[in-house]
């Protein structure tokens, strides 16, 4: 199964660093922990089946796939 990148928004029930460590133990490859966006956002990659598990971990508020954003090429008429 391919890995995708995920955005995990912490719920604030526990420290985001602790949560990141927990995720890492669950086959979730932690790439970034954004601590300014309280209570914390963790960005990482994992296979889809891992995410079902991740959603149930205490301290996880929301899990969403990383999505593309595109403003178009330099000569786009509207941007």
């Amino acid at each position: 199964m391919p890995e995708r990148r995920w955005i995990v928004t912490a719920s604030g029930d526990r420290s985001v660093t602790e949560l990141a460590e927990d995720l890492a133990r669950q086959e979730f490859i932690v790439e970034q922990v954004l601590v300014q966006i309280t209570p914390g956002v963790i960005i990482g990659t994992a296979e889809d089946h891992v995410i079902d598990h991740v959603r149930r971990i205490p301290g996880v508020g929301n899990v969403a796939p990383d999505e593309p954003v595109d403003i178009g090429p330099p000569d786009a008429p509207i941007s």
Binding site: I7, Q32, P73, A76, I78
Partner: protein, 443 residues
């Protein structure tokens, strides 16, 4: 050919196998107009292709030819360490910077009269023609007059809407108006005594042309979140930063196009030079702007997605820190996209010069509106200036005005700044779902 490519940082500048983007980055970083690639074009005398090749080889150059490729379709990244690439059909060759320099074959060199090479000239970058009319304004001349004529027409339209009592723009106001973009006039920026001094404005976009002459001497901090240098090779980021933070007095006949001309600029590159990014990179950029306590964070980007929890958390974290995130509502003539649709992020709709909502502007969750059609601002060198349209252009008008308001009082931060922008906006005869509280106004 077919040799292993040297590490990008070991390859000398102006090599034949360098990508156009790398050549352009290097040229722009070197200052000046960034028009020359660092390579040279040698044109041969008629019928002297073979003699020219022998001459180049005789000078010790490794010579590749388009004839080496199937169908003479050259792949520049496969010429390896060749110092010259010959185009036999054209009767010319491109010489790498280092090879030309080492053998006295640059544009500055004297060519012997009996040489099979007729001329050697610098190689220049070529750019797509802008789709808009005013990509380059020469100093004086027809283009400037056209622009000013069009601008005065727009100004009169605004005056008609604004002052039912007045049919004619007063002389003094006309003079003010002619030297400024329609958008700044509509936001009452020229009359403001505020400059944005002491306020940090983060613009998360395609980066910035750091060497643009209009920003020399300005405090600019750049950071990239997309694996490409901050230098803007797209144009969108430079244009948005121009609107939010451009200079009080641009050179020559260029009208003033920027709001908070003394603000500190934080250029976060969260979109690549092709205009694409992802939520993860954008969140990393917001995280950086919050860490730097940027009072205003401007995001002219988004996608057609429902409210994203991470963006809402980001907006909330900003507000809790006394910072304000403003984002473009989007250009699909549909419901506001993310991140602007988060309740903790201020959503900006676009207005045309007659102060009606732009046809492309999204609606629904809209907090405020600003000029977004035919907005004149800075773009990367060599064009330097250009027109763009979109809620992307409206957003930095709000960001710039927010910086001016923030300067008026240290109590205007985060949510109180949001409320002040809405309270002081000029009401418009359109539903809140299209224009929010109305047209943003400067203090």
């Amino acid at each position: 050919m077919g040799e292993a490519m040297p590490n990008k940082y070991e390859r000398p500048a102006g090599a034949l196998s360098e990508s156009v983007d790398d050549l352009l980055s290097a040229a722009l970083a070197g200052g000046g107009e960034g028009l020359q690639t660092g390579r040279f074009i040698a044109t041969f005398r008629e019928g002297a292709v073979d003699a020219a090749i022998r001459s180049l080889e005789g000078a010790g150059m490794q010579v590749a030819s388009a004839g080496d490729f199937a169908g003479q379709a050259v792949a520049m990244d496969q010429v390896g360490d060749a110092g010259a690439l010959v185009f036999p059909e054209v009767g010319a060759a491109v010489l790498s910077g280092p090879a030309a320099g080492e053998r006295g074959m640059t544009a500055a060199s004297d060519i012997p009269a009996d040489s099979p090479i007729e001329t050697i000239e610098p190689e220049y970058f070529a750019f797509v023609e802008q789709a808009t009319e005013f990509a380059v304004l020469p100093v004086g001349g027809e283009a400037t007059s056209e622009y000013l004529r069009g601008f005065v027409t727009a100004a009169e339209a605004i005056a008609r809407d604004l002052g039912r009592q007045r049919q004619v723009v007063e002389d003094e106001q006309q003079a003010l108006v002619v030297g400024t973009t329609w958008g700044l006039v509509a936001c009452r920026v020229p009359q403001s005594v505020r400059t944005g001094s002491g306020i940090k404005v983060a613009v998360l976009d395609t980066g910035m042309d750091l060497g643009h002459p209009d920003f020399s001497g300005r405090q600019v901090l750049g950071e990239t979140f997309v694996g490409q240098p901050v230098e803007d090779l797209h144009s969108h980021g430079t244009h948005c930063i121009g609107t939010a933070c451009g200079p009080q007095a641009p050179p020559g006949n260029i009208p003033r196009y920027g709001v908070a001309f003394r603000s500190s600029i934080f250029a976060g590159k969260v979109l690549s030079n092709s205009g694409s990014g992802t939520t993860a990179g954008i969140l990393a950029g917001i995280n950086w702007a919050i860490a730097n306590r940027c009072e205003v964070i401007s995001m002219s980007l988004g996608s057609r997605t429902p409210v994203q929890a991470a963006y809402t958390a980001a907006g909330q974290a900003a507000l809790s820190n006394g910072l304000l995130i403003v984002a473009a509502a989007g250009n699909d003539a549909g419901p506001t996209g993310s991140p602007a649709n988060s309740p903790t992020i201020m959503s900006v709709a676009s207005l045309d010069p007659d102060l009606t909502p732009s046809s492309f502007s999204n609606s629904g969750k809209v907090d405020i509106a600003a000029p977004g059609r035919d907005v004149f601002s800075s773009v990367p060198r060599p064009q330097r200036y250009g027109l763009k349209s979109g809620t992307s252009m409206a957003t930095p008008h709000v960001a710039g005005c927010a910086a001016l308001w923030a300067q008026t009082s240290p109590t205007l931060r985060g949510m109180s700044l949001w409320r002040k922008l809405q309270e002081t906006a000029r009401p418009l005869p359109f539903p809140r779902s299209r224009v929010g509280a109305g047209l943003v106004q400067a203090p």
